[in-house]
């Protein structure tokens, strides 16, 4: 089969690999029909995530058709169209039993601090991902769902991570009616978080980024006010002015490890790998929110320490809430929102790329060329 393969920082190519075998009785092998490149894939691509091995196939956002099932699989059969959450999870451990699917304890030998994620380094379990023609899907009776007939494939693809994570990020903010919500980052997750904040009753939604084309999308797709932080000497002061010097009630970090806006933070984290991430957006969130406010973190960070302004968070009495999204838990409600016309997830997709051109796709997305917001990979193109 053809598969994207990591060849070292900033380098990927497509190689011929063996079709993955069934390794466990509850495995399925899925033929991938659509995959996406996620902003967090760029942390791997840039060599920031420890234990990212040459030869691994990335990709934790994908949908496809069941090709083969293991002997204990009851809920899926060959030919089913399925959407697969980015979490690999068992459904039966202490954490899964409580709905914390992203924190599963039975799927990741390499680390206890994080669950399993497809195509996301050995730190997340060492599973090959879906930017390929076929992928192994463990716990086929737990993770995947059959795509409803009424749902578009591209909408289903966005539900496997980006939409679910953005929606989850808004929930972590504990938004109450009329709250002012600041969303740092106008990438896919930030756009979905901004859109979701309205569903939860926000009174104002403000999106902050430095890419004008993404801020334009925040205005049109997510009905948000926007600030370009590169146009302001100090975005924290700007946020205070915009909120009568009170601060936002809720701030969401939808950027994570490679945030721009502070050269020292960015270089020490993204280039020198001396931090788990560049917490510029998180620090701005901490300083922009009002005292007693809530910070939601859904941007991804590596396992190393990061220079977070924890003193400000403590002195302001903030509540910090964060996690990788337990994706499947979000699906029933998100299905309703899509059917009701409140959400059209595929509206943020900007590029569709054949698998064979994936190196160019990574470069374009990483370098933010051609007004790229969300690139989708088509294995059979």
């Amino acid at each position: 089969m053809r598969a994207m393969v990591y060849r070292g920082p900033y380098k990927v190519r497509v190689e011929e690999k063996d079709v993955p075998p069934i390794e466990h009785p509850n495995d399925a092998i899925v033929r991938v029909t659509l995959a996406a490149i996620c902003g967090s894939d760029l942390h791997l691509y840039h060599g920031m995530m420890p234990d990212t091995r040459v030869g691994m196939t990335f990709g934790h956002e994908f949908i496809g058709v069941v090709e083969q099932v293991g002997p204990s699989v009851r809920n899926l059969k060959r030919g089913d169209r399925v959407m697969v959450p980015f979490n690999v999870y068992c459904g039966s451990c202490y954490f899964c039993a409580r709905g914390l699917y992203s924190n599963c304890h039975n799927v990741n030998p390499n680390a206890t601090a994080i669950g399993g994620i497809y195509g996301y380094s050995h730190t997340c379990g060492g599973y090959d991902g879906g930017q390929s023609e076929f992928v192994r899907v463990p716990f086929a009776d737990v993770g995947p769902s059959i795509i409803p007939d009424w749902m578009d494939d591209e909408d289903a693809l966005m539900l496997t991570d980006a939409l679910a994570t953005g929606y989850f990020g808004a929930q972590l903010g504990d938004i109450t009616e009329g709250d002012t919500v600041a969303v740092f980052g106008a990438g896919p997750v930030g756009l979905y978080a901004a859109k979701s904040a309205w569903l939860m009753g926000a009174g104002r939604v403000i999106v902050i980024d430095h890419l004008d084309y993404r801020l334009e999308k925040a205005r049109t797709f997510a009905h948000a006010e926007t600030f370009n932080f590169a146009e302001h000497d100090d975005i924290v002061v700007q946020m205070k002015k915009a909120t009568d010097y009170l601060g936002a009630d809720v701030a969401i970090d939808a950027v994570g490890a490679e945030a721009d806006g502070n050269l020292t933070q960015h270089i020490t984290a993204a280039k020198l790998k001396l931090q788990g991430g560049s917490p510029v957006a998180l620090n701005w969130a901490i300083d922009s929110v009002r005292k007693g406010g809530t910070i939601s973190v859904v941007g991804a960070y590596g396992p190393m320490f990061s220079a977070v302004k924890f003193g400000d968070a403590m002195n302001k009495g903030l509540t910090l809430r964060m996690n990788q999204c337990p994706v499947k838990r979000q699906w029933p409600r998100l299905f309703e929102h899509i059917q009701n016309g409140y959400l059209k997830p595929s509206d943020i997709i900007t590029h569709r790329i054949p698998l064979e051109d994936i190196a160019e796709g990574y470069h374009m997305f990483s370098s933010k060329l051609d007004d790229c917001i969300k690139p989708v990979v088509v294995p059979a193109a």
Partner: protein
């Protein structure tokens, strides 16, 4: 005079105005409608799992694992087993240091860099050597408006973009210089 007085700010738009303007506004106003509220909800029957403890996947090679695990979890990824010097470093990191130690992660990061160098060198004795031009996707600069996407747009990342080519090309130059020096040394010894 927010926030120096007790009052809340006057809202620019009422809830009714927002409901009229934004599709779905307030649909999840009640926290009971939010799927991850409360954060933990004990319901093991909800997941589809039909086992108390999953069957164990076969361990085809000694699988490295965190010291913070009691035993090897029943299911795990089988991508890219450790190999070479980078593999030895990875095994050392897992065997010696917990996730709580910076040494664990720093050794793994070092192993990643060693792995890249080992793999590049290994590729030169195959029919498909690494090609930094095609693998970096840099050829898309022309097709994807590389210049106009970057300049004249007040992007904050331009301050460090110049580092990217050094990160990509630097190791190749370093290996080339080292190979040249080693070659020259060997030639001098023979002479």
């Amino acid at each position: 005079m927010l926030p120096y007085t007790a009052n809340r700010a006057n809202r620019a738009e009422s809830s009714d105005q927002l409901r009229a303007r934004i599709p779905g506004w307030g649909a999840d106003l009640d926290p009971k409608d939010r799927p991850s509220v409360p954060r933990e909800r004990y319901d093991p029957a909800a997941t589809g799992a039909h086992w108390d403890l999953p069957e164990r996947q076969q361990e085809k090679w000694p699988r490295e694992r965190s010291l913070e695990h009691r035993h090897l979890p029943p299911v795990f990824g089988t991508s890219t087993p450790p190999k070479g010097l980078s593999g030895a470093l990875r095994k050392l990191s897992y065997a010696r240091y917990s996730e709580g130690r910076a040494a664990h992660w720093l050794i793994l990061l070092m192993a990643d860099r060693v792995d890249a160098i080992e793999s590049h060198l290994r590729s030169f004795v195959t029919t498909r050597p690494d090609n930094p031009i095609t693998q970096t996707g840099v050829l898309s600069e022309g097709r994807r408006r590389g210049f106009s996407s970057r300049f004249g747009r007040n992007r904050a990342d331009l301050g460090h973009t110049w580092l990217d080519p050094i990160i990509v090309v630097g190791p190749w130059v370093l290996v080339g210089v080292m190979a040249f020096r080693v070659g020259r040394m060997l030639v001098k010894r023979r002479a």
